[in-house]
Amino acid sequence: MTTPSQRRKPPLGIVTRPGSSLRNKTGSWGILRPVFDCDKCTGCNTCESICPEGCIRHLEKKRYEADIEFCKGCGLCAAACPASAITMVEEHR
């Protein structure tokens, strides 16, 4: 019986290990990104919880940011924000 070290690598592109989505930076898909208005923001967390990418981070009480490497610019956060504190702006990445 061969030991693992004597054996070939798995065929290309077939075996994926956990955490690989972090390498798949989907941010380039988008043409819009959210801009947060801290003066209007109430810190309610709606944007963070609705983001399908999970890329909005709650930095402090009324301050959020979107991770542009993964934000696809879908605009759900802006549409859902009860305080209208998020504006989608065009950005070609």
Binding site: R8, P11, L12, I14, T16
Partner: protein, 389 residues
């Protein structure tokens, strides 16, 4: 031990000797006897496999896919409509590089409904990434299943193997076969030792996603390794000969081809008839030979070139037709000879669809029509039936 048994029983015994962990199949004529025998063997405690009953061939193939992904040795069998229903999963099994074995019992495809033999079904899945071996006799099919697991599970291959076996002609006829002992098979075929498998302790995903930046290379390497599998098929045939003392060719098997001016190329049980006919035709002075195409995928281009380039005429007997084009195997035979200094003419003769007998008369007809210059034709047509059309 030599036994006088049905072809299906011979395959079931071979599969049982390979110690599969999981068998899943849906019954369909003429594959039924194989999986009936296997389920009986499981029920009687003769083999330790788990037999999973399912509601369709799509599910049977899916059960096997999961079983191999989890590190088991798996087996299934199907034919015709069942093969077509499996096709999506067949591509996935090959694409995930999961070694398993399926008996592709050869039967015509509907419509019209026909349960008898031709090879349209397995040839319809030729591009899925499976290695395809075509057996001439029950003994060869028995031997091929034992070889098939060893080929599939080889680290250089990691592709599933389909052993193609003509329905009724082989599955339902009795033949004396030499069934090896469990010890012999255990020595030849060690337990499956997967290179990768689904395991909660070391989680992985298989075949999940490959975008345009990766997929092209994944398919390229799969194709390259499938082409390389040809050497493993040959190597395993030699090792099988050394271990069991039987030889029925590796990727091809030439029969009386050395000085042949005309060589017939064929796959499966019709090769048996063809060899008998070659003897008869040679007795009346025809310089003919036969070339069995034993391994159709990977396609043995170099071996065909070597075996055929000395001939003046090559006649391919086709048990399937690409409707609106020509036979399925012939274009690849012609391509193998393309650009060679010596180029025999290659005729494509479609024979024996839907169980029509292929007889010495059929071979005579192919020989004379090709000699008269016909290149693409159906042999053995019944004029009285065509008159009604």
């Amino acid at each position: 031990m030599r036994k006088m048994i049905e072809g299906s029983r011979a395959v079931a015994e071979a599969v049982g000797l390979c110690r599969p962990d999981v068998i899943s199949a849906y019954p369909i004529t003429p594959q039924t006897h194989i999986v009936e025998e296997l389920s009986q063997m499981v029920a009687d405690g003769d083999i330790e496999a788990e037999y999973v009953r399912v509601e369709s061939e799509h599910s049977a193939a899916s059960v096997c896919l999961g079983a191999v992904a989890a590190g088991s040795r798996a087996y299934s069998a199907t034919t015709s409509q069942g093969m077509l229903l499996m096709i999506e999963v067949l591509y996935n099994i090959a694409g995930m590089r999961l070694p398993m074995v399926i008996t592709g019992v050869n039967r015509a495809v509907s419509a019209p409904l026909n349960i008898w033999n031709d090879q349209q079904d397995t040839l319809a899945v030729r591009d899925a990434g499976w290695i395809q071996l075509y057996g001439e006799s029950s003994q060869e099919c028995l031997d091929m299943h034992i070889q098939a697991y060893r080929i599939a599970e080889d680290d250089r291959v990691l592709l599933p193997v389909m052993v193609c076996m003509d329905g009724f002609i082989l599955t339902h006829t009795y033949e004396t076969v030499d069934v090896p002992t469990q010890e012999q098979v255990d020595t030849f075929l060690p337990p499956y030792n997967p290179l990768f498998k689904l395991d909660p302790a070391d989680p992985i995903t298989l075949g999940a996603y490959a975008g345009p930046e990766l997929y092209h290379e994944v398919r390229y390497t799969m194709h390259r390794e499938a082409l390389g599998a040809k050497e493993v098929v040959k190597e395993v045939a030699r090792q099988f000969r050394d271990a069991f003392g039987r030889w029925s060719g590796d990727v091809v098997e030439p029969y009386r081809c050395e000085d042949a001016q005309t060589i017939f190329v064929a796959m499966g049980s019709v090769v048996g008839t063809l060899k008998e006919w070659v003897d008869a035709a040679r007795a009346r002075g025809e310089k003919v030979g036969a070339l069995k195409l034993r391994c159709y995928r990977p396609f043995p281009q170099e071996e065909l070139r070597e075996a055929l380039s000395g001939a003046r005429q090559v006649n391919v007997l086709e048990k399937a037709v690409s409707i609106g084009a020509q036979g399925v195997v012939t274009p690849e035979v012609r391509a193998a000879l393309y650009g060679q200094a010596s180029q025999p003419r290659v005729a494509c003769a479609v024979v024996g669809l839907g169980g029509r007998d292929v007889t010495f008369g059929t071979m005579d007809e192919v020989l004379s029509r090709a000699r008269e210059g016909e290149t693409d034709f159906f042999a053995g047509l019944r004029a009285e039936v065509l008159e009604e059309s």
